[in-house]
């Protein structure tokens, strides 16, 4: 798991993961890249991350992947990421394609729902919590 301040260099990240694993005898390597879209007059997105829980979320996914003979990677930005820049890269490797195709879907969806990352739109230099696009984590509302 890699966290960077500001935008990610997607090609460098792809290259580094690919070179690390190309001799590992995985047959399928899938990457998901999230790029900041221009919409609703935003200038950038901005992210807060709570690293201890993100790390344990990621480690439990690594175990889940290992049980299926697979491996996962992820990188995410902290702070501001301007339009058309990359804020998120994740990857799955597995011996055969089927497991990799299933895992990338589950991994990215669970990331969206449960990784402790908060997103803000940056408009006129101000950070506005992306409340309507955010999802309560599993177990939310316990103290209500």
């Amino acid at each position: 798991m890699e966290l960077y301040s500001g935008p990610l260099d997607a090609t460098e990240i792809f290259k580094s993961w690919f070179n690390r694993e190309k001799e590992s005898n995985y047959g399928a390597f899938i990457t998901f890249v999230g790029i900041v879209r221009s919409e609703d007059n935003i200038e950038a997105l901005s992210f807060d991350i709570y690293e201890p829980i993100l790390k344990s979320w990621f480690e439990s996914w690594q175990q889940k992947a290992n049980q299926r003979g697979a491996k996962v990677y992820m990188a995410h930005s902290i702070g501001d990421v301007p339009l058309h820049n990359v804020s998120y890269v994740s990857a799955v490797l597995s011996p055969k394609r089927r497991v990799a195709l299933e895992l990338i879907d589950e991994f990215v969806e669970d990331f969206k729902a449960n990784a402790p990352i908060w997103k803000y739109d940056v408009i006129d230099g101000k950070r506005i919590y992306a409340e309507s696009r955010s999802t309560p984590m599993s177990g939310a509302g316990l103290l209500n």
Binding site: I53, A130, P136, M137, A140, L142
Partner: protein, 73 residues
């Protein structure tokens, strides 16, 4: 004393409170106007582990995190 941190957009400073378990803590947090509204959709971690029971006991020095709705990527 238990330390309570409010993560991400909640934007409220950490506090220290006396609480024997999460049910007890919930009562105290509901009294804070700026926090109350976040409780219905926030998850809770004790010492960085997400918990799912109000019976979860708390001891001196424990750290509780309040995690509002997320949106990574």
């Amino acid at each position: 004393m238990v330390k309570v941190e409010f993560l991400g957009p909640i934007g409220y400073p950490s506090i220290e409170v006396e609480a024997a378990n999460l049910a007890d803590l919930a009562q105290k947090l509901k009294e804070i106007e700026d926090i109350k509204e976040w409780l219905s959709n926030s998850a809770v971690a004790v010492n960085d582990v997400i918990v799912d029971s109000l019976d979860t006991p708390l001891k001196d020095g424990d750290r509780v995190s309040i995690l509002p709705p997320v949106c990574g990527g």
